[in-house]
Amino acid sequence: MSTTAVVKKNTYFDSVSLMAISTKANGLDGVEQAFVAMGTEMNKGVLGNLGLLTPELEAAGNGDLMVVVDAADGADIDALLVAVEELLQRKSPAGGEAAVTHRTIAAAAQDNPAANLAVIAVNGAYAGREARKALDNGLHVLLFSDNVPVEEEVALKQLAHDKGLLMMGPDCGTAIINNVALCFGNAVRPGSVGVVAASGTGAQEVSVRIHTLGAGVSQLIGTGGRDLSEEVGGIMMIDGIRALAADPATSVIVLVSKPPAPAVEKKVLAEIATAGKPVVVYFVGGSEEAVVAAGGHFAASTQDAALKAVRLGVDPDVTVEPLDTARVDEVAALLSPEQRYVRGLFCGGTLCDESMYAMLDLGHDVWSNIQKDPERRLGADSPSTGHTFLDFGDDDFTNGRPHPMIDPSLRLARLVEEAMDPEVAVVVMDFVLGFGAHEDPVGVTLPAIEQAKRIAADAGRHLEIVGYVLGTDLDTPVLADQVAALKAAGVTVTRSSTETGQFARAIARKVTHA
């Protein structure tokens, strides 16, 4: 081995850049070890103790940058010095640290050898190709993009499975990996509950409930909304279950999905038996009998899923407060006989689904843009009828525009529109906090809430608006402030997605049977 040193006079790099240069220098062919540091006395002392202090380094000042390369026998020292110089130039502030962007996933992977996950959000036409490149470079993938053909999704998931990688998505909006929320996610404490979810806001809601119950999340693996379809066959959910089963930090697993294809549901449930850990299953509208027969724990709602998971894995005595039925009575007493219907205006698909299913449970006449029954399915342009539940995050509403968690304009206009309908008793809304979401979802809605209430009052009606704020006490903006702002605007605030559905159902029952 031979030691070569370069001293760059009065050269300053921020510590993140220094570390990146050091990491890359250590990865160069022929380098046994490399050290990049400011020329302070103590750093020179360390080099001296390691027998690496040359006269040149000894002369370095505390404003000078020392680059020390310990090269393997036979390595081309000159070529190594050129390579190190290139690294320094690329990170040089004059060259623009920000200018170091990567044109390809392969280059990014090569430049960041410690990276093991790629988040891809490009046009769906190209998303599959980029995801494949990431997988080929040994990276797990979170594919945010939608509009990826289903055949391509199957091929990508199969490739990831064969390589032992996660292929989260396409159309995957939420994950929490090693305590880092990706795309839309909430600040939840680390813990021992692992989640595999084929639904974005469903996963967010379950993670938030787990946090609120005092427990935490080990990993939240998103699968993409189509994973449990007949075509895809639950490849990612099954791989996710296996990953969490093998994870020593996970004591209990929760599965969350919108209604899966029956054959896939069967396949996924068969996986439970071999997990070796308790598995709680919340498939919206799913069958308790099938889950129990498979050895799982059936959950009837997002709240039930979180509660059962926390009881099984963390705190057996944890409880939640029951629905405030007195408030239901109070609201019902304010309504005129003509006001019979609930209108749900949601950002979150699973939150919409959960409230809608609560109503279906009573056999009500329920219409939606995400209704399974095609006869009761509404388009984005259809007027509301009966009990209507709209998922503004669905493709009908987001075609060519951002998700309502970012751009609420369509939902605000609809709120005002619903207020004009004399048959509307209650408008139910969700407000999603957290990474990626609107910076003040309640604040941006308050003028429309005020306007809606005024329209109803001018017509001699009371319009009840029920709001649920999905978020934790660690989220930004502050959960308590958002809730307080809604209450100050006369909104009834519910404490979970499940309670929101319960409240809507209870009101519907009252006004229907009145």
Binding site: N10, Y12, F13, D14, S15, V16, L18, M19, S22, N26, Q33, A34, F35, V36, A37, M38, T40, E41, M42, N43, G45, V46, L47, N49, L50, L52, G61, N62, G63, V68, P93, A94, G96, E97, A98, A99, N179, A187, R189, P190, D473, L474, T476
Partner: protein, 309 residues
């Protein structure tokens, strides 16, 4: 040739703003990073111009510029301070940083006097736990997995320095404190070496009302005066400011949230303080972690010293 482009200052350290209002003279550009440009005042002291979105900090102005990456400002060029602003050469008509309307920032830190020994212990444990959970290895938390021998050697030296400092402060051994500070001062590869960041965390605590770390503060002040060339200028400046209780906004937030959480259980405090701690940890590569490690060690020491009164 174009005229100077005017850049508004959003906010700034109130002490620096007051000084700029009366300042007339020439300095120079010390160093240029994407987020920050460091300048030397006419008397050789260091100040910073941070890009929009960066946090407030001592001797720092936060200006209306997205980043300095393509600003044309280069190290070594002269800078003119006049009329409450700063004229920067950028290779064209120059930039005029107008600081006259800037919002003043005051780093207001809490007192330690109201903390009981038990509360100091709870705060120290919560901070320690969060730092270990979310912090970055490579400095005071030890070497990363598969680290190069040089990183391992630096981390081992940091660990020895910390142990020596803790032992000396516990026994009020002034010579030991001095030796330990010297063992840490300037140790670590970064622009603010990890050893200095750790010393900064303890220095900050020592500046709070009710602190029992005055022996440490006196010795550190003396070391800075007598060993001025042991570390980078940025690090020396940061240490001096911390000794006056002046640190960047994220650290001020951590202290204030810890103070507001007095009396809470450790579990509750972990939740309360997690967000500000994570923001403070995000500074630099290991700088945030190393500074909070110093803060946690300082809190442990405060508790022990309080107990011995």
């Amino acid at each position: 040739m174009r005229t100077a482009v005017e850049v508004r200052t959003r906010s700034g350290d109130a002490v620096l703003l007051a000084r700029l209002r009366a300042l007339d003279g020439c300095g120079s550009v010390h160093s240029v990073f994407r987020g920050v440009v460091n300048l030397l005042l006419p008397d050789g002291e260091l100040i910073a111009l941070a890009a929009r979105g960066r946090e407030n900090a001592p001797r720092t102005l936060v200006v209306e510029i997205a980043h300095w990456g393509h600003s044309g400002v280069a190290a070594g060029r002269p800078v003119e301070f006049r009329a409450g602003g700063i004229a920067l050469p950028d290779g064209a008509g120059g930039l005029w940083v107008d600081a006259r309307e800037a919002e003043e920032w005051h780093p207001i830190v809490p007192s330690l006097a109201a903390f009981s020994p038990a509360e100091l212990g709870t705060a120290a444990r919560a901070l320690d736990r969060l730092t270990r959970t979310y912090g970055q290895s490579g400095g005071m938390l030890g070497a990363a997995a598969a680290a190069a021998p040089m990183e391992i050697a630096v981390c081992a030296a940091l660990d020895r320095g910390r142990a020596a400092l803790v032992k000396a402060v516990r026994t009020s051994d002034t010579a030991g404190i001095r030796a330990a500070i010297l063992a840490l001062h300037g140790l670590g590869p970064g622009l603010t070496p990890a050893g200095d960041d750790f010393l900064t965390g303890i220095a900050l605590l020592s500046a709070l009302d009710g602190s029992g770390l005055d022996g440490y503060a006196r010795t550190l002040r003396d070391v800075l005066a007598t060993h001025s060339g042991r570390t980078t200028l940025l690090s020396t400046t940061t240490l001096h400011e911390a000794l006056s209780g002046r640190v960047r906004a994220a650290l001020v937030d951590v202290l204030n949230v810890l103070a507001a959480g007095r009396g809470q259980s450790e579990r509750h405090l972990l939740d309360t303080v997690q967000n500000p701690v994570r923001r403070a940890l995000a500074h630099g590569h290991t700088s945030g972690t190393d500074t909070l490690s110093g803060l946690a060690t300082g809190l442990h020491l405060e508790r022990e010293l309080r107990g011995s009164l």
